[in-house]
Amino acid sequence: MQYMTDRKRAAGAGAAHTGTLQHWFMTVSGVALAVMLPVWLYLFGAAIGGTRDQVVAAFANPFTAILTALVLVVSMRHFAKGSAVMVEDYAHGTARKAGLIFVSSLAAVIATTGLYALIRIAL
């Protein structure tokens, strides 16, 4: 008769450290983006091709500004976490560390630059 629990048998048998948290984060941010993107794509697409005054006026609109900020922050976290999994799949050792730092930093730089532009336009 086996007295060991399923959990005890599974412990140490494979990688199950933070994968569930990662997966759940991708689900939450992905669903959030799924809700926001159809509207945001329309607003962004409509702004392309305008004069600078028209573009500034479009992103100075509170709804557009807040939605764009949300899309930027959520999508860049979604990218950083998703891209980190790809780095972990293909790179090892120092290359993995450098890759993880790079994708995380790239996402942060893009999100911050976009937020700076938005604040300058909207405020």
Partner: protein, 131 residues
């Protein structure tokens, strides 16, 4: 599942076949495309954020960024990004279905792959028509 033997000898485990050995299938192609589109989208994001930054900074700077954005190159990047975002969108929704234990039968999963590919093309055309 591996049993703990208690001995220090390493068990010879079978290696997982490499990606190149597998026959190309709809399920694998649609999965790989999700990763490719997710990363390729960064081209559109970088161009879009740069364009927005230029609009925020000055008229001459915007003239440069807007010229790139409305050039054939900018249109290529933006149209490509539009398809990539719709593909990634549908493929992501498919994962939500999979997580709810729906659509995991091989026939359904393969059909959903086609839904992602054809649906993303359809949504891209629809977006271009509307916007």
């Amino acid at each position: 599942m591996a049993k703990a033997t208690g001995s220090s000898k390493r068990v010879e485990r079978p290696l997982s076949p490499h990606l190149q050995i597998y026959r190309i299938q709809m399920t694998s192609v649609s999965s790989i495309l999700t990763r490719i589109t997710g990363h390729a989208l960064m081209a559109g994001v970088i161009l879009g954020v740069w364009w927005l930054l230029a609009a925020a900074v000055s008229e001459p700077y915007f003239a440069v960024a807007n010229a790139v954005m409305t050039s054939w190159f900018g249109k290529l990047v933006m149209t490509g990004s539009l398809w990539a975002v719709w593909y990634h969108y549908l493929a992501g929704l498919r994962h939500v279905l999979f997580d709810a234990r729906l659509g995991l039968e091989i026939k359904t999963a393969e059909m959903l792959g086609w839904v992602c590919i054809l649906g993303s093309v359809g949504l891209t055309v629809l977006t271009i028509v509307i916007v």
